[in-house]
Symmetry: C2
């Protein structure tokens, strides 16, 4: 019923070797770290607390922009970063603020603890215990930054992208935002958008690394390049060349000059079997109707209409009544559509078996190692999340069916078997979205659609 957890190891292994002619066996994640983690480590090694058994928990205090749900993304990348958190001598040499004992600890460092958490592609809500990292204080504290960087960035993109997928009501979505985010963030953003249900990406590194279908049309520069010696633009020549090279199934960009003329030129060159036309400017609601009518009038009934131009989930929702076949989405998806970070935090919740929590104003947290279930009706509809102490019996959910949210990810430093592939996580998310109460898929601002209830904790940790 729910897609199985298979082959994450294979994804990770193929990622590891994807750049093997240029990159080494691994790309160390060990310096993607804030300085204070290593100075705390040094102090902990000196005072003996380094070896206390601890639990750190990743959670979010709220969902951005009053959204109804969030999407966990980046988990497989986190597990890889934990595995690759190993230091070279050259990296250690840069840490000249540390003493020898600390450097030696880092030289030998391999994470040997356990990680449990929500599956990649799982839905989440405020205070869902998304990741539970257990081990010595020393081995857990230094993973804070890299774990949060990955989860915050990838979950921000996936949470926005999932709303776009819902808004598109089955139309195809291409992620084409690489140019609007940092060059490596672009690669992971492509992955997160695909996880959330996008169908393709423009980014070739993401296509290669993660097996995501790559897609693209043409730029305005292509049409502009085909200028006659007297300075007259020659759109026909540009279209002819593109069709000659890429076949009639290609998509021609028709709005460089006049769209009506562009569509006429496109069909003149490619015939009625033309794959698609792209419109990248103007009032897309009106233009797509005009172009559809024009294409149909020319007999090009199967020529698709691709639109782009600063689309977000709201613009997409406004265009689903229009004859759009494919949405190209750029800036808004890679920047999380107004929420470029998911705001997750990594907090110590247990030390030496004792639940701990800070009491800072507005930043309180709840101590103790946790796990969670989602209680669902017989129809499959989710009712609430229940968080309870890790290792305790699953709370009684009455007539509701408990669904386990917390699953093992790393055991004694080793990835568990049968972790899911990216493609499986993508399917998993689509399965989870249908379990939400219907109002959970609305784009409007409101409360989280599910509550998170805590069961079995002492009232107030000391």
């Amino acid at each position: 019923m729910r897609p199985g957890w298979t082959r994450l190891n294979q994804v990770i292994d193929s990622t590891k070797t994807s750049d093997q002619t240029e990159l080494p066996r691994y790309r160390s994640s060990a310096l993607l770290t804030d300085k204070y983690e290593f100075t705390m480590l040094q102090a902990a090694l000196r005072d003996g607390t380094a070896h206390r058994q601890c639990t750190f928990e990743v959670f979010a205090r709220r969902l951005p922009n009053e959204r109804r749900y969030g999407v966990v993304a980046g988990t497989a990348r986190v597990l890889r970063a934990v595995r690759d958190f190993v230091f070279s001598e050259e990296q250690l040499a840069s840490l000249d603020f540390l003493d020898d004992a600390t450097l030696e600890y880092l030289r030998q460092y391999r994470f040997q603890g356990d990680i449990d958490g929500y599956r990649e592609g799982e839905l989440y809500f405020p205070y869902s215990p998304l990741l539970t990292v257990r081990g010595t204080f020393a081995e857990c504290v230094i993973l804070e930054t890299v774990i949060l960087s990955i989860l915050n960035a990838d979950s921000a993109v996936a949470s926005a992208a999932a709303r776009m997928v819902t808004a598109a009501q089955g139309r195809e979505l291409i992620e084409m935002g690489s140019r609007r985010t940092q060059e490596y963030a672009a690669v992971s953003a492509s992955r997160a958008a695909y996880l959330a249900g996008f169908h393709a990406t423009s980014n070739l590194e993401a296509a290669k690394r993660y097996g995501i279908p790559a897609a693209g049309t043409a730029a305005h520069s292509w049409t502009l390049l085909h200028v006659d010696p007297d300075g007259t633009p020659n759109e026909l020549a540009a279209f002819q060349s593109q069709v000659d090279t890429l076949g009639v199934e290609t998509t021609l960009l028709v709005d460089t000059f006049d769209i009506t003329q562009g569509v006429n030129n496109a069909i003149k060159v490619a015939g009625t079997k033309l794959g698609g036309v792209r419109i990248d400017s103007g009032d897309l609601g009106i233009l797509t109707r005009q172009v559809r009518e024009q294409l149909d009038g020319l007999g090009a009934h199967n020529t698709k209409i691709v639109v782009s131009s600063d689309l977000d989930e709201f613009a997409i929702a406004g265009l689903v009544g229009s004859p759009v076949d494919v949405f190209g989405v750029g800036t808004s998806v890679v920047t999380g559509s107004g929420a470029p970070t998911a705001g997750m935090v990594y907090k110590l919740v247990e030390a030496d078996g004792i639940p701990v929590a800070k009491r800072s104003r507005k930043k309180q947290s709840r101590g103790g190692t946790k796990q969670a279930i989602r209680a669902c009706r017989a129809t499959g509809t989710a009712v609430e999340e229940i968080v309870f102490p890790f290792g305790a019996d699953v709370p009684d959910t009455g007539e509701l069916t408990p669904y386990q949210l917390t699953v093992p990810l790393i055991r004694s430093g080793q990835l568990v078997d049968n972790l899911p592939t990216l493609h499986e996580s993508r399917e998993y998310l689509q399965g989870q979205l249908v379990t939400l109460p219907w109002e959970g898929l609305a784009l409007s601002r409101d409360e989280p659609v599910l509550n998170t209830r805590f069961v079995g904790f002492t009232q107030s940790p000391k």
Copy 2:
């Protein structure tokens, strides 16, 4: 007067070799590219237009959030990416949608053209010609994505960070946002924030790669770790250990439980020579005054107050009247404070000597290869930007002094000599900011503080 352009090559070389035990001589940028660039290349190679001499221009149509100016950042990273745009056989094998001639072109590819542009750390305005890339269509078109990814991300961070530096009125700023952006975007964001005048970063990879001072304090987990066996928190033990290891010049985090008690504990442990205390929650305006009074009462007159907790330029401006010594800034700086991308575009403006421009609604651009000057009063205050045809005489600016904005960056594929270091670009920006009319440094929303005027272009390109 203006800092010289020296040693950028050294910065780049040190970057290149910084990871040499793990990474190869270069990290290829060649697949940080949108698919359509390579399919256009293939069509251009087939129809002969690939070898037309072209100019592509980077510019922004507007400044985000009605800001008054933008900051160019990422230029040195762009030049490195252009140099490293070379393909491995393994990368070429992933481009199975291309024909043999195109693959062979890419196999031999090295950018051999010229790049001119605004210096890193320069101010910019709508339609400033930020980068001018000249060469064959083939060699220029495939650089679009990686150039824009870098400039859009780095300029977004630097443009936000510069406003924070202004707001802080000389107080120290530490960038500590790595956890709130993608793990590699964190490294370049640290660099951009430093360029803009931040004093330090928490990010160790950025410190190592770019020579940025690293800084940090401690996390709440450090205090929480020091729990007695009966469950009683022991803040004194945590502070004592930190001071024992890092010395009294360290900064103690005092808001895990009760701030007044935390400050008392801090001074009790470290004495009045304590370097600093950090407050990460609550009403910072009130708390910092209380804490300053308390510290002074205890005789710790030189103990600094470090604040963090979702600060942006507006919060910083609201706190400059408070006894804050250091601002720790996270989410808002690495996400561009509401504008995570600078929205720059890369457009073909000239082909075979003919100015070209699209006429799409609201996305018009102006054809022709350009350069720019800024006209300044004798006092140094900037009055306007003047954009004129590349290679033409500098327009007459009357009593105003023309200042050259467009400088050579790459000649025949080679970096020019004496490009500036990151530190020099950082100084350069500070010098440029003082040339702005005073209202340009206001945080409020308004028009760009300088206009960009076009001189010497034909009225309307065909």
